[in-house]
Symmetry: C2
Subunit: 320 residues, 2 copies
């Protein structure tokens, strides 16, 4: 559809990247996105190494188009993951939550394109210095783990574009073609979309989580635990427990105990929508139906064209 | 420069509105903005009724171009303010923080254009139903008092544009031509800019506050007191006191005592940058110098043109 530096970098048709989300991004979602001309990313954060290998192999069977893997750099068996990625000949890796200095060189030596996710300009510069090929700059609106600065996508993208020379991918708050247009107006060469795909038919998330996303209204997600590990989630019973604890001076250790390691799986994969952790972005309130990936791509294209036409109508062709 | 429904509505040359901010927006700032072709708004929130009258009269002497007044509807002497506005033949009023139903009819009967500021779609619809001429939709990034939902400008504008038929003005996170372009890509017919003008040479804010704005970095402002009266401010000693109190379960009454009524004046007008309340938006970190209003307008124009050119370069003319 549209070619930019990002489509050229990855050899894809349209600069839409599906975020590699825990418990949502298995081979079905990833291959569906790549088949539609975007870039699908497996979410290694919620996979055992052997599970990741299986998903890589299944994705390759499902499509010959480019796809990648998202790795949280704080993953305990990170070395094992990296080796699998190299052995399985994955061509694209997105890294997050950690220092890009550690693995970028090895990955690049193996012919892998590396992209790092950041939430401020300081880490954007550090990632560029570490040799990555592109940056995902993710704003406050995004679901799941997030930056402490709370900088929104609108404020973050122009600043990151000023500070790095490599292409910038905007993430956070992007769930429509209008938002893609706006992100590119800010200087992004592509977008990473999470929530829309978490709620898609092909997402491996539990149906009850997907349904919960479609019922979410304005103000129904919140970025909490800002002084510990900031995370945006849907306001449910678990959120209430964390919030109450946070506002009554509970210690960090206690907070971590309440959140627990298994709560994300419980909520998003097992469908316990009250006691589990439901990580989703602020645009959840814009999602009204569970759609297939191809319907989502159609919507985004239509909305993008609508937004361009509307702006031309509003300010006149000569300004564009 | 650019004509949209908003420039037509107000009879101005470019769809840039200067937010009517407490302690910053006197006749000097307002007339400077209107002279540059935007719409200046007096900030009645920090003026006694007789002071507002004086500023209206001085603005009229300084320029024959359109200008307006921003009124927080919770202002204690609201009736007196409204009467002054009608007597002084002000043609444009922006209302915020209150029910637009109460005064819109009277203002419109007196030939005044009325715009209401909201932070969610529900109040946008209510304002339209109350008969206002346009909406300011203000995102989480904005300085000062703000919505509880924390919806960012990127997420808010497309939704408000869907729900109302009247023109939408985007506010929050807009401090550059790139951001103006993005806001219009989202469907806004104009923008309201606060922080940039708060730090301008013509702003009535204290020089020490303006200097503090230019020294602000990413993450140096925060929206706090979300469960009482959400307000975005610079992180200083007062912020620390409020934050500590908030996180240790202090009662709302106690929090209100710490914030106090005079703290905004103390910080922004008297220049006590540690003990006063410094209301400013997230884009403060993008402001590096105190500039004149005309320099700001030049910058915005240049940046807007740059952003349009960059996008054309990136995705190609045929997509725009």
């Amino acid at each position: 559809m549209i070619s930019t530096k990002i489509t050229t970098l990855f050899g894809i048709e349209t600069p839409i990247i599906q975020g590699g989300m825990v418990w949502c991004s298995g081979w079905k979602l990833v291959s569906a996105v790549s088949i539609c001309g975007g870039l699908g990313l497996l979410g290694a954060g919620s996979m055992y190494p052997h599970v990741l290998r299986e998903h890589i192999q299944k994705t390759k069977i499902a499509t010959s188009k480019p796809f990648g893997v998202n790795i949280p750099l704080l993953y305990p068996n990170i070395e094992e993951l990296i080796n699998i990625i190299i052995e399985e000949d994955v061509k694209i890796v997105f890294t997050s939550a950690g220092n890009p200095q550690t693995w970028t060189k090895l990955l690049k030596k193996n012919g892998i394109k590396v992209v790092h996710v950041v939430s401020n300009t300081k880490f954007a510069k550090k990632a560029e210095d570490a040799g990555v090929d592109a940056i995902v700059a993710e704003g406050f609106e995004a679901g799941g783990h997030n930056g402490r600065e709370e900088t929104t996508t609108l404020c973050l993208i122009p600043e990151v574009c000023k500070i790095v020379k490599i292409p910038v991918i905007a993430a956070g708050g992007i769930g429509s073609g209008e938002a893609i247009f706006a992100a590119m107006a800010l200087g992004a060469e592509g977008v990473q979309i999470g929530s829309l795909f978490a709620a898609s038919a092909e997402s491996s998330a539990h149906l009850l989580f997907k349904q919960k996303i479609t019922e979410t209204n304005e103000g129904d997600t919140e970025l909490i635990m800002k002084h510990l590990i900031p995370v945006r989630m849907i306001k449910n019973l678990l959120w209430k427990e964390l919030k109450t604890a946070e506002l009554s001076g509970t210690s960090n250790d206690e907070l971590l105990k309440i959140l627990g390691k298994e709560k994300a799986k419980k909520g998003m994969f097992e469908g316990d929508i009250e006691n589990g952790e439901l990580e989703i972005g602020q645009i959840a309130s814009q999602i009204k139906d569970i759609k297939s990936v191809s319907e989502i791509f159609e919507d985004l294209k239509t909305q993008f064209q609508f937004a361009v036409g509307r702006l031309k109508n509003s300010i006149g062709e000569k300004f564009l």
